[in-house]
């Protein structure tokens, strides 16, 4: 593994640790509903402060179940990850193509000419 890849792997590991540690350490145990969403907790807090508050508008479309909702969240993440992967794949391919073209033309015209990266 190159030094660059090793640093990236370490950074990813740190992110994973930050996500997993609260679970492992049981930091949600003191709660009635451990690891609920902060957005939902805010709704609860609003109804605590103002028990009479009624939401005056409801979503036009609501996923019918938790399963459908998680599917849509997965779709959102997959769309984003797909575009990101396309971008980096395309860049990598282009760079390799350029390098190959440079090497080829370098060989043809001036043999001693070392190709420069971009």
């Amino acid at each position: 593994m190159s030094r660059n890849a090793r640093i990236n792997a370490l950074l990813l590991l740190a992110v994973a640790a930050l996500a997993v540690l609260p679970l492992v350490l049981g930091l949600g145990d003191h709660k009635e509903e451990p690891f609920a969403g902060a957005d939902a907790e805010a709704e609860t807090a609003i109804t605590e402060i103002e028990p009479d508050y009624e939401p005056w508008f409801s979503p036009l479309y609501e996923p019918p179940s938790g399963e459908v909702e998680s599917a849509l969240f997965a779709l959102q993440a997959a769309l984003g990850a797909g575009v990101l992967a396309y971008y980096f794949g395309l860049r990598r391919g282009r760079r390799q193509g350029e390098e190959r073209a440079l090497t080829a033309s370098g060989d043809a015209t001036a043999p001693g000419n070392t190709p420069e990266g971009d």
Partner: protein, 234 residues
């Protein structure tokens, strides 16, 4: 940071919408200009929007025993400046409001204000400030993304405290309550977002050097020299 549909009183909903609209309109103008003048940046724009899509779908456990998600707006703000991020953030929020019943149309203005306007501007401001002090690029990127993430959730707490002041302890009491739900939960997630943004920026430095130089994220040798000599002259 998503204030749920219907959970802001109408007056607040309208006020935040009015406050956000000019930023988004201005952002659309910047975005179309960027695409027209530099068609080659369309791909990287797409990638920045995609990063926001991924990160705002990632609900992560936090130290407070609840879950929240990063925003992913720091990267685009650093690359393309905050006005463009206002548009990309709004698109993400619209997707979530319409398909996921996460956030909402009546609270869109407030959510856009926190995630697509204040977050990107705060993160970008910190990034620029640190760059001026010659802090290494990746450190500035980390803190830019960290601040963009955390400030978004602080704004959400303020918005809710303004709409629902505590009957006993008033605005500040409510701010403490919402802040402990949002801002404290968000601190480790903001660290995660900072690290993820650094990873993507490192990959970009390897793969898109020319693009980053054009956007002013990477300095060319002559630009660095000019900046140095400028600093000396001053």
């Amino acid at each position: 940071m998503h204030i749920a549909e219907g959970f802001l009183p109408p007056a607040h909903a309208i006020a935040w919408g009015v406050a956000s609209a000019p930023f988004v309109v201005h952002g659309v103008r910047s975005l179309t200009r960027e695409v027209r003048e530099h068609p080659e940046s369309t791909l990287l724009l797409g990638a920045s929007g995609a990063f926001t899509f991924v990160l705002s779908a990632l609900k992560l456990p936090s130290v407070t025993g609840s879950c929240s998600h990063p925003t992913g707006t720091g990267l685009g703000a650093i690359l393309f400046r905050p006005p463009i991020m206002a548009v990309l953030g709004t698109i993400t929020l619209l997707f979530q409001a319409l398909l996921l019943a996460h956030g909402g149309l009546t609270t869109l203005g407030a959510n856009v204000f926190s995630m697509a306007i204040v977050g990107p501007w705060a993160g970008y401001g910190v990034y620029r400030l640190l760059r001026r002090w010659d802090v290494p690029l990746m450190v500035t990127v980390f803190f830019g993304a960290f601040v963009a993430d955390l400030s978004t959730y602080c704004v959400t707490s303020v918005q809710l405290a303004l709409a629902f002041p505590d009957p006993g302890s008033g605005f500040l009491g409510a701010l403490g309550k919402f802040g402990s739900i949002f801002a404290v939960t968000q601190i480790p997630l903001a660290v995660s977002e900072g690290l993820l943004t650094v990873i993507v920026m490192r990959l970009l430095v390897q793969s898109s050097r020319g693009e980053l130089t054009r956007l002013g994220v990477l300095l060319t040798k002559s630009a660095t020299a000019a900046a140095k000599s400028g600093a000396v002259a001053r």
